[in-house]
Amino acid sequence: MKIIIVGCGKVGSSLVDQLSKEKHEITIVDRNADVVSDISNTYDVMGVVGNGASYELLQETGIEEANLLIAVTDSDEVNMLACLVAKKVGGSNNPDFATIARVRNPLYSKEVAYIKEELGLATTINPEYAAAMEISRLIRFPSASKVDTFAKGKVELVKMEIPENSPLNGLSLIDIGKKYSMPVLIGIVERGEEVVIPRGNFVLMPGDRISLIATPEIARHFFHKVGLAVKGAKNVMIIGGGTIAIYLAEELLKSGITVKIVDWNREKCEELSDRMPEAAIICGDASNQDVLFEEGIRTVDGFVSLTGIDETNIFLSLFAKRVSKAKVITKVNRISFDDIIEEFNPGSIIYPKSITADYIVRYVRAKSNSIGSNVETLYRLMDGRVETLEFSIRKNSPVAGIPLMELKLKKDVLIACINHRGRIEIPNGRSVIHEGDTVVIITTTSGFSDIQDVLEG
């Protein structure tokens, strides 16, 4: 696909990274010539320097032949204008032409549907909102360090670490199936640096981080049985009153969770209190331990550090981990040192930039596969080493109508769940995929674009 990316900040460049690996023809536009030359030196893309909202410049990028324009500059207005102009130029003789804009100002967030409709956008992405949604999912399911959903939320992929005293220790996956006889599937196991898609004879050890695939109720039920806490948080402390905090607090308040936001800026605090009278807004310096103790950090069961400085967030989370039993979530903006940060173990880590990039990549995949079998959603897990993909099964698909155990699947591929038109099945060897189903597969191989890619040969 021919893609034009306007704006090469962190999101733009991580999009270039992922999309160029998937062999799309990419043209980047940025006002900063250094950034453009940097990126076009490392990736196989064409660079154009200038303002992406300019009609003349967009023509130069070959927009007449492009399929998609993604506007991710730091200005919402430029993004929207770029998409509007692009739609008029590129969409005039190409009905398939689509545009994606990053619109992040909370002011516009309520009008997003209108904007999307009026500007003819394919989709908008709000990184802060997406991050807030992710955090809220984690808070409501605290023992997991990461939760992803498939099949429109009907199936969850829950990642958690096996503690020392867990009954799962020393059991192979077959044993687990026999002992608990529940429709759950252990899809991915991380042991140290290694990421594996386990077979039936795989034996679990303490310290393994497993990713469990199940429907939400059964997942909770299973965790209850194996003795891992599943109680959702009831009161949450948020440090930093930025945009993510606003979206997050609103979301949490909706589901009846008490929220306390700490920020040192009085004006901002007043603004927050105006917007959310139900939340407790504390004006104070969160890097002062006394302030945190006074506000009851020991007793909260959710702690989210969302300040603008990565280092502060990490320290605050490490501190919260030490003094409380809360589920701790840390926001980190810079992705470069992710493996080091994870070594510190400051709870669950949220990278807003990669959430945004993932969201867009997922859209691009779905669009570029609109013929034949279809990638509905895609998750990159474990630093991109594992992908989970959701396919819908078209007519005459080579996987349809055959029991799974008779399919010659590639190594490192697992069929994680089958959605029979709304009825979820966590498959076993006797399960059969039918036309019209959607299936979720997990794989350590990258770049599957069609369901038949999972078959050997």
């Binding site: 990126i39 030196n41 490392t42 990736y43 196989d44 893309v45 064409m46 023509q59 130069e60």
Partner: protein
Amino acid sequence: MNYGIIIYILGWVVFLTGSFMTLPCICAAIYQEQQGIYYMIVALSALLIGFLITRKKPKNHQFFAREGLLMVGSSWIVMSMIAALPFTLCGDIPFYVDALFESVSGFTTTGASILTDVEALCHASLLWRSFTHWIGGMGVFVFLLAVLPMVGGYNMHIMRAESPGPSVGKLVPKVRDTAKILYLIYFGLTVLMMIILIIAKMPVFDAICTAVGTAGTGGFGIKGDSMASYSPLIQWIVTIFMVLFGVNFNFYFFLLLGKGRNKKNAFKMEEVRWYIGLFILASVVISVNILSMMGSYSESIRHASFSVATVMTTTGFATEDFDLWPTLSKTILVAYMFLGACAGSTGGGIKVSRIVLVFKMVRQEIRSFIHPRSVKTITLDGKPVEKDTLRGVSVYICTFSVLFIVSMLLIAIDGFSFTTTFTSVTATINNIGPGLEICGPTGNYASFSVLSKFVFMFDMLAGRLELYPLLVLFAPRMWKKNS
């Protein structure tokens, strides 16, 4: 420094040189020449060695500008060394240094020869000589990029190191597609020229050699008198195609594949307009200047425009011995040797765009003396030019001058006249071929010493690769493991 990938790419270059060499083998088979056997041996061994080296894929695919420079610099040397082998083995050029000179001159599209009697060569050698122009014209790496599936954007470093011009951009987002488009235009124009030459009643073998030689703006003739004995019509065809191959290939891309506004962009390219303008200007002045010698207008216009085209595009064919022309004409021709063709074409020289930028910089400097506070950005094709590009142009011209002077001093040891010394360096460093006097259109480079020949070879490579890929080979810092 990622040596793994450099070796790997070198392997591909060896392989590619071997596969190109099958062409003279076929030619030898057609003419039933025994020399073909040597071409066969060299081609097969190159194919085998290249094949073996490329079996081992490098683990690390990451490389940067300096690996790109090193790859290109060393590959061109290796390539020339292989290409020189059959000349010596088959006995056409018994002395290996001479053979090397000939193949370097071929790949760098110079067309300077050490041969005193070209017509004594076998057909295979003649074709191979001319065909090296074609390979070197667009560049072996551009070809490699077009056929070799390589991941990542790193290969832009290779393309940039090999392609001529102050700033190398892409035509389309992918390097591979850009390379393919360039070679398609190149190939298309070459075939077109061959057909037109054959229609103009040139023998088929001559037409092939002339077309590939013109396409690469090389200039190896297959006759002792170069182009002089062909009909005026053929000479005109060659003139026109020389000018065409000296045009920035982006021009053709915009013209053929551009849509809407981009099509108009083709005619807005400042460099192309300057190039055509300067070509016409010099042709007119010289034809007036040599009118008394030629007798008729048509004769003088034909010879003048042919000579201007051959010098400006750095091809180096000849219809007339311009060494005998009046001083004004000779001086214009020597000046045009430095000018060169457009950036992004197959021609050599300093390139019109660099000269245009230099003039603009000078104008800006003068303006800043008159209005010290004036701010005025330098533009090309209506777009502002990056400071880095301008700095690159100035440094390029300085480096070029230094290299030029040092080469001249080394050549001077041979003790030839100043004109010979000056123009021989000019003609090699700008990849033209013929200079004046001893190395003029009717002369050759045979009488120079071995040292001088090596200096010429260095100059030719440096000129074709735009100095730096070759100069970095001699930077000690380049070879340190973790500098």
